[in-house]
């Protein structure tokens, strides 16, 4: 049934595109609403009839994956959730996969957020991934959430030298001085890796400028696709690896499933979302071709 659905939707999309191409050869432009309908079908069809593709991690994704994989168990990792629900469909799959990976490797993970909305999304990761998958891990010993703190870059400027000055308690009001995970953590310099997830400001770029460089801590990032090009100047010296958009999340999930048997049976939203993204990209490419055909045809007519 699913295969039939895929075939029918492909016929509808590509049949329609062929018809539009034929029209464009005659020099006719495509109306905006028609483009909207095609994008809707291209996104909806792979959701209703799932299509999955095999993904291979690119070097930029592998950089972060390998770093987490090769850190000795017990290493201290800080993960910051600096995003809002608008970015969550792209970034949350990365957050879940990276959190799973770190805890599965036996690292001690501290979660925090520089965005007010990030704290609730952090709770989602705790509820959806960490508590069901790692029921034996203890809050305060193996992982901890310090929650959200207002102040943007100001917060980073303080925690780079004194973490507890800005976060005296965890998200539930438990003093950090009394939790074992913070026995050997005084500042950001005591972390073996910082993973900044987000895409806005403050976000990964601020983590590099205010913490990564001054404290000499490796930074890994996971960002919305539109932000990724802006972070390439920091890769690979200041940012050890980067996950950009759904593609980055899918590559990370794929690598995780290849190397960690346990992850194969878990939800892999990044890989699932690659179906709609791939089809939407192809439809956009087809429309660019159609647009150029119509453009050249109309130019030739004007020339005549």
């Amino acid at each position: 049934m699913a295969h039939l659905g895929v075939i029918i939707s492909m016929l509808v999309i590509f049949g329609g595109l062929a018809w539009l191409l034929f029209r464009s050869i005659k020099g006719r432009e495509v109306e905006r609403r028609v483009i909207f309908v095609f994008i809707f079908v291209a996104v909806a069809a792979p959701i209703l009839f799932p299509i999955t593709f095999e993904e291979h991690a690119s070097p930029v994704v592998k950089g972060l994956f390998d770093h987490i994989d090769t850190l000795p168990p017990g290493s201290r990792v800080l993960i910051s959730f600096d995003y809002d629900p608008a970015m969550a469909p792209e970034v949350q799959p990365m957050a879940n996969a990276i959190s799973f990976h770190c805890l599965d490797r036996g690292h001690k993970v501290v979660f925090m957020s520089l965005w007010a909305t990030g704290q609730t999304l952090l709770f989602n990761t705790l509820e959806d991934v960490i508590r069901p998958e790692f029921p034996d891990l203890i809050d305060g010993v193996d992982f901890i959430s310090t929650g959200y703190k207002a102040g943007n870059e100001g917060v980073l400027n303080v925690i780079v030298s004194d973490f507890k000055k800005m976060f005296p308690t965890d998200v539930n009001g438990v003093p950090l001085d009394s939790v074992p995970i913070f026995d050997e953590i005084n500042s950001c310099a005591d972390f073996d890796l910082i993973v900044a997830l987000g895409g806005g400001r403050p976000g990964p770029k601020e983590w590099v400028l205010f913490v990564g460089d001054p404290a000499d801590v490796p930074i890994g990032v996971g960002v919305a696709a539109v932000v990724a090009p802006q972070l390439y100047p920091y890769y690979p010296r200041q940012i050890i690896g980067m996950l950009g958009g759904v593609k980055g999340a899918a590559e990370y999930e794929s690598e995780l499933a290849h190397r960690h048997e346990r992850f194969k049976n878990m939800a892999q939203p990044g890989l699932k979302m690659m179906g709609p993204q791939t089809l939407a990209h192809i439809v956009i490419i087809c429309f660019i071709v159609i647009g150029n055909v119509a453009f050249f045809r109309s130019r030739r007519r004007k020339g005549n």
Binding site: V30, R32, I35, F36, F38, I39, V43, F53, E54, E55, H56, S58, V60, D84, P85, A86, M87, A88, P89, T117, Q119, T120, F123, L126, A150, G151, G154, V155, N157, V158, S161, D162, K165, T169, V171, N172, G173, A225, A228, P229, Q230, Y232, P233, G245, K247, M274, Q277, T278, A280, H281, I282, I284, I285, F287, I288, I290, G291, N292, F295, F296
Partner: protein, 224 residues
């Protein structure tokens, strides 16, 4: 006097913060100033909330255009404020997080704000497709270059890029579409981004000096 005092504060604070970066004994000053900044930033939340209410209540009172949306804004603001302040349904104690799982705040966030925000953002896909159709046309040499780059990046971000050019031998693997996409990101994109960043950096330094030295006064509300 109304201008001199803010200018003096800006000069002293700006100079001290620069000194604190370069002279180690002053290093603690930076932390202290940052904590002060955070305290002030928290008050911005109160101001922001108060201002939002004031603007929309005025709009409602005067029955201005689209006043119906103001009702939705005020209702949404009030419901979230009450759910958070009184920790309705919160399973934890008074010290627990406002948005702890199980609380009304958490449920509204996940059931209303999350899908609404994600939907608004995802609408971009429609506009991007429409804009690509109209903008990416080979009108001249520069536009053609942009068009080719867009093609490679779009294909490189999908498994189709691998399928189309996976047969190219390893000796010329740079010609594979995903590798070409990586090259565009790592070379032309990186060069452009660095140039922009260096330009912004120099701009920030010059603007900061203008502020500290009192040359730039627009933040005081004009040159009156």
């Amino acid at each position: 006097m109304r201008q001199q005092i803010p200018l003096l504060i800006t000069f002293i604070v700006g100079t001290l913060l620069i000194v604190s970066v370069f002279i180690p004994p002053f290093g603690d000053l930076e932390t202290t100033f940052n904590i002060w900044f955070d305290i002030i930033a928290v008050f911005a939340f109160f101001l922001g909330g108060g201002n939002l209410l004031r603007v929309h209540i005025n709009k409602l009172r005067k029955r201005k255009r689209d006043w119906g949306f103001s009702i939705v804004t005020i209702l949404g603001f009030s419901v979230m404020l009450i759910a958070g302040l009184f920790k309705i349904g919160n399973p934890g104690d008074i010290a627990s997080a406002v948005d702890a799982p199980g609380s009304l705040f958490y449920d509204i966030f996940n059931s209303v704000q999350y899908p609404l925000s994600a939907t608004m953002y995802s609408l971009l896909a429609f506009f991007v497709a429409s804009a690509s159709y109209r903008a990416f046309r080979a009108k001249n040499r520069e536009a053609t270059l942009l068009l080719i780059a867009a093609f490679i990046i779009l294909l490189g971000r999908t498994p189709f890029g691998v399928m189309l050019t996976g047969w190219i031998p390893d000796s010329t693997s740079l010609l594979q579409i995903p590798n070409l996409a990586i090259w565009i990101m790592n070379s032309p994109n990186l060069a452009g981004q660095r140039a922009i960043m260096i330009g912004i950096g120099l701009g920030v330094i010059s603007m900061s000096l203008r502020l500290i030295l009192g040359i730039e006064r627009s933040y005081l509300g004009g040159d009156k």
